[in-house]
Amino acid sequence: MPEIDLSLHVNGRKVTRRVDPGARLLDFLRDDLNLTGTKEGCGAGECGTCSVFVDGKLVKSCLMPAAKAQGTEIETVEGLARPGELEAIQKAFHKTGASQCGYCIPGMVMAATSVLREAPEASMEEIKERMGGNICRCTGYSKIIEAVALARDVVTGRATPDALEPERVGDSFIGSNVRRLDAPSKVTGRLKYAGDMVMPDMLHMAVLRSPHAHAEIVSIDTSEAEAMDGVACAITASDVPGTDGFGVFVHDQPIMARGKVRHVGEAVAAVAAENEVTARKALAKIRVEYRELPGLYDPEDALADSAPVIHDYAPDNVVKHIPLRKGDIDKGFAEAHLILEDEFATQQVEHAYLEPEAGLAYVDADDVVTVISPSQNITHHRHMLSEIIAKPINKVRFIMSPVGGGFGGKEDMIYQGMLALAAMKTYRPVRLVFTREESIIASAKRHPSRVRYRMGLTNDGRITAIKFEMLSDGGAYGMSSEGVMRKAAILSCGPYEVDNIQVDTRVVYTNNTPSGAFRTFGGMQAQFATESMMDIAAERLGLDPFEIRRINMMRAGSLTHTQQELKSASIDRVLAEAEKASRWEAGPAGMRGPERGDLGGPGTRAPCTLGARFESKAEKKGRVA
């Protein structure tokens, strides 16, 4: 491989190395200098986790060839404070609870450092504006921005240094704002995630993924790839010794495609090689012969008799159907004075955890096949993997690496099986790090939904009947679809006591990207429809939105939609608290915005119009755009 001589300063130290002309500054810092605090969240300049200072200016190191850094001074998160210490911004992040999964945090600390260097007196708006290039998926930014403002105040002397000290505890640790114990490791960038870990003699994996949504695999020939210099092994479904199949509810997914591919991006084969570049090159040498099959892309089409069958065990393409029946639905609608019908839809949503999937596997000295990965359920993964690789449970070990965000997206065992197989085939450690694009096409999404809603109410706002039908696209594999439908059904009609209910939730197989577990597991899709209907009903009946909810809310003794008696229901209290805190002005639902008196004021921010750093307050007031 071609190389150039690179000479520069990193965190005050002179460094000289030979590098590949195409390597990015990000790769150089992480792989050559072991400065893994700087992360690759996306590789395309969109997330900011790769931010470093180059000659005093904060840039995105995934967008910079290492060669471009010739003769420059680089500062990474590791250089901000002496090892074992935290400087003011890091202390502020610790104090406010600004770190959650921690993956975006080194980049955020760097961005905050840049803000306070460039604009030491920056207002909250200017702070936000200057940090607009850094994405966080866990925190909602509030406590991060709070931390930057706190650091600003301490550094400029507006607040004393003990503003950074932990809160004093009262007479109990329960209810106390104890600072996060993993915050120091995250704000310094010292915590290692799976993609930061290296082991001696480690191989790098790359995965060949299906370009087709639905196709038979006629043949796979990995011989050319295996023959390449630097390639240690190639694996396909034929390497699986045990019972191939994993999944949160139904084991319908092979660790690599078996017989056919069911979605674009499905793993078909993998190689393990001495470095990532070689592994990627080897993929191009794998010959796969496909015979395309008709594809299924709309969940309504999946239910048709003539629909292509995605999984032989489910000839009707239905993964799961959950019915709820309570009371007498026809009687309920007969009693209604007002009947409303409407349809709602929600989209597939990407988890977008900042840490793309990554993992390492090795076989230890006791022949225990060990997988290190940010899995959300190592218990279940171990169970499934032991069947797949045909080893006793105690000869399979899963270690959870720090998780850089999950939200349900790291529950599916979509790559750990491949790592285990490659480790078993080579008896060397193997590491796989997904690219962001790979993560997006290969991992589960939040189930999209189409809901048909029919609600009957009396004129004084009591719901007499609800008919709720939800159809969801489960995509190519079952993943958590069954559970999502179940939860959606149970929660569907909201925190209201309704005597007559008919709920049907259905999820089907298609050749789309699979849907799986994602924070609320069907709960938000279902309640989006219900809460929209409540508002529509309130408007038709001239009721305030709080009022209509109070009329129908569950109480102690209420029967839920699954006919469970509740011992208590705090819906009355949360309604009251939200109403009070927001200074809600009562009035019927409808277009009341132009007349309401409760707008603006405490609890709201000014609209963002950009330009905080150069506009005066007077200019901002006069803004029309």
Partner: protein, 305 residues
């Protein structure tokens, strides 16, 4: 992934041109790299192998800017962040800070050049409308028989379609020259689904200058991007407004007419709705700012008098 056989960082224009003139097929000129690296990824161009990348960011002749009378020559290495950090540039080009603050984010602005934005000629390019509103011209240099030659092209003629320019083989963009718009009020409108890192469907740049009395438009500049294959200067509106008193009714009428000019192939309805609103809002805002600029200038005069 982007891979390179060779990565050169020439320090003079002569060196850069010599490399570029003799460059093998597939070689690329690069500056900030903020477009090419995201482009060389799965879902877009995929794996890209460059036999040679010529990085212009250290070519001395491309740095900095100079004023020549009423024109301002910006070296090709001027980055977007400069319009926010340099008060002189902000004063001379009052539309650029507003355009810049909508462009990507702070980190990318430190690396990305205005020239690069123009050369890439993306239909969503934010830089082109303000530059054509300022009668922008680009200077294109090349080597001919070992001699440095250059030609100047109006930006309106330079950008010919999505991703297409009249940059000829062997040419390097050395500078962008625009009108100095000191004393103008400016506005930049852009629509996005969020407030940072926004790739826009449509954008619009406006600059206005009021006459000595402050009651009439002495000059109006208006350019819109995202309504067709290339950005457009709305000269007919400019001509109609020059010499007129700022009148919201007239502006609204002229703005409505712009809906018909949308010739995009996608999301037509949306662009047709947004563009008239932009024209109105931009002119209103630019006029307000022109008034404040006059007020500030007047204050300065009385203080100095």
């Amino acid at each position: 992934m982007l891979s390179c056989e060779r990565y050169e960082m020439p320090e003079t224009l002569a060196e850069a041109l010599a490399l570029w003139t003799g460059a093998p097929e597939g070689a690329q000129l690069v500056a900030g790299m903020t477009d090419i690296l995201p482009w060389a990824r799965e879902g877009r161009a995929g794996d890209v192998e460059l036999p040679l990348a010529i990085d212009l960011s250290r070519v001395a002749e491309l740095n900095g800017y100079e004023r020549h009378g009423s024109r301002l020559r910006l070296g090709a290495n001027v980055v977007w962040q400069d319009f926010l950090d340099d008060p002189q540039l902000a004063a001379w080009l009052p539309v650029m800070p507003y355009c810049s603050v909508w462009f990507a984010d702070d980190q990318i602005r430190q690396q990305a050049t205005l020239a690069g934005n123009l050369v890439n000629a993306s239909p969503a390019a934010d830089g082109t409308p303000p530059v054509i509103a300022l009668n922008g011209e680009v200077e294109l240099c090349r080597l001919a028989n070992g001699q440095l030659m250059s030609r100047t092209v109006r930006v309106e003629d330079f950008v010919t379609g999505p991703g297409k320019t009249t940059l000829a083989p062997g040419e390097i963009m050395c500078s962008v020259t625009v009108d100095c718009a000191e004393g103008y009020g400016a506005s930049f409108q852009k629509v996005g689904q969020r407030r940072s890192l926004v790739i826009s469907v449509a954008c619009l740049a406006a600059l206005v200058k009021l006459d000595a009395s402050g009651n009439r438009y002495e000059d109006v500049r208006l350019a819109v991007g995202g309504v067709g294959p290339v950005p457009e200067r709305l000269r007919d509106i400019e001509d109609r407004l020059r010499g007129e008193a700022p009148d919201m009714a007239l502006i609204a009428e002229l703005a409505e007419a712009t809906a018909d000019r949308v010739g995009s192939r996608s999301r037509i309805d949306y662009r047709r709705r947004v563009v008239p609103g932009f024209v109105r809002a931009a002119l209103e805002e630019a006029t307000d700012r022109a008034r404040s600029a006059r007020g500030a200038a007047a204050k300065k005069e009385t203080v100095n008098a």
